[in-house]
Amino acid sequence: MRGGNSHPLPILVLLACAACAGPPAGETAAPPVKVPLVTSSLPTADLTPDPALGKALREGLLAVRAGDPRRAVNAHFNPVINIYEARYRAVPGRVYCARSMEEAARYMKDALRAHQPARVVEAGLVLAYVYRARELMILDDPVAAQAGLERARVLSPANAAVLVQLGAAYKAQNKTPQALEAYQAAVESIDLSPSETKARETIDAFYGLGSTYVALGRLDEAEATYRRCLKVLPGNALAEMELKEVQRQRTQGR
């Protein structure tokens, strides 16, 4: 899960491209803007993982595997989160966490557009929030899970794993419109998922979105969601099964 190493040089190249890039398709063209020339305000990225905190996270996972969610949260994930948060509080500008250089480039581009100083760092903190959220859900505390995941989303707005877990936390509290929005964002973010988790996050995102549409009785949108999933993952058994179910429900409803 944890994103790669430090790649300062490629980031500079990506940064240059991002600075030149126009608005994404579909957006209204804004008047030309001047990119600030002050070097210190340019976004920077360093995805070097912290080995000590990485080890602490792994120890948290051992507590998870031992079936002790309370210990995992209190003795492992909370301290890791606190250390990271204290560290990043000292960073001037906005902090983003990225699992890959592609994700980092996306955030740097966002920061450039917003003329915002920003630093992109490794994803250990966000990972800790996601792990903690799962354990908090087991401990019947979806409110705390949601709060942590919303913070994680600020740090990693295009991390599909965060968005899927956030969708689940909303859904568990019957906050269906918020769940729908989170799953939609997850679907739009799967291109940035690391290759090793991409297939799973893709299924989770589409299934979360499709099943929420079904729960809302929006069968056309559910069908479109599963069809889109099948374009991304041809032959996926889950999407095919859900598509059949949507069609069955529609036939029954007539």
């Binding site: 002790d68 799962r134 087991i138 989770d204 099964m241 179910e245």
Partner: protein, 259 residues
């Protein structure tokens, strides 16, 4: 250990979706039956097929709940599946097995025949529901419940290597060494023939690790050492085997020092 296993199952094995459509109908039994053959428009069969599809969806629903930290919801889904199949098969006189692969199903039929027992093999959904329910119960720290569920999954699919490994892990956590050893050995024995292709190497490795661990905990250090060395010969990157081999070597050195 349990949840590590769960991730393996959910993320790599594809167990849940590997078999559903192929096993929508009962498979041939020890005494050949006609009900599984392609008979047109049998309303009961059609209803069962629709129910099987609904149960597969429920299995997926439970799995998603489990993955996002909602074990109670997951258990509710699994219990529905279990209740459906218990009701469907409760009056059957034959022994009922769940097979995940054609080879596994055939093996159960051979087993039943050798015991002069009639049997049927059905889709694995029922057994998988018990298996995953065990993980959800483990999340909720209900170890007796988890054990009962895993044992029920094993009873329905006695040759399924993943079920056996997770059950053995549970016995190991209870320090029930004889039962853990027996179950890991069964997992090892059945791994080659009955693992899903993508899980075969992992199942074999886990079974070997488990056997060696029990040996090292019961003082059979030479046997443990030999297995860990085998594991490392197969995969020099096997960090667990290396770590445990170091431990066994230390223990042997300590024993030599005492004597």
């Amino acid at each position: 250990m349990m949840r590590a296993g769960m991730l393996a199952v959910l993320l790599t094995s594809g167990l849940v979706f590997s078999t559903g459509h192929a096993w929508a109908q009962d498979q041939p039994a020890a005494q050949p039956q006609t009900q599984g053959q392609a008979a047109p428009a049998d309303p009961k069969k059609e209803a069962e097929n629709a129910e099987d599809q609904a149960m597969l969806r429920l299995l997926q629903e439970g799995t998603q709940a489990l993955r996002t930290g909602q074990p109670r919801q997951a258990i509710a889904s699994y219990d529905q599946i279990i209740a459906t199949y218990e009701a469907r098969y409760k009056n059957r006189k034959e022994k009922v097995y769940c097979g995940s692969t054609p080879a596994e199903t055939l093996a159960y039929m051979v087993l039943a025949a050798s015991q002069k027992q009639s049997a049927i093999a059905v889709a694995p959904t029922w057994a998988v529901a018990y298996f995953l329910k065990g993980f959800a119960q483990f999340d909720l720290q209900d170890l007796p419940g988890a054990k009962a569920s895993l044992e029920r999954a094993r009873d329905l699919s006695p040759y399924n290597p993943q079920f056996l490994i997770e059950l053995a892990n549970l016995y190991k956590s209870e320090k029930n060494w004889p039962l853990a050893l027996e179950t890991y050995q069964a997992a090892k024995e059945h791994s080659a023939a009955f693992s899903l292709p993508q899980a075969k190497a992992t199942n074999e490795m886990k079974a070997q690790h488990g056997i060696a661990f029990v040996y090292s905990e019961t003082g059979k250090l030479d046997e443990a050492e030999a297995i860990y060395k085998q594991c490392l010969a197969m995969n020099p990157q096997d960090a667990y085997a290396q770590h445990e081999l170091d431990y066994v070597t230390q223990q042997k050195a300590k024993q030599a020092h005492v004597h």
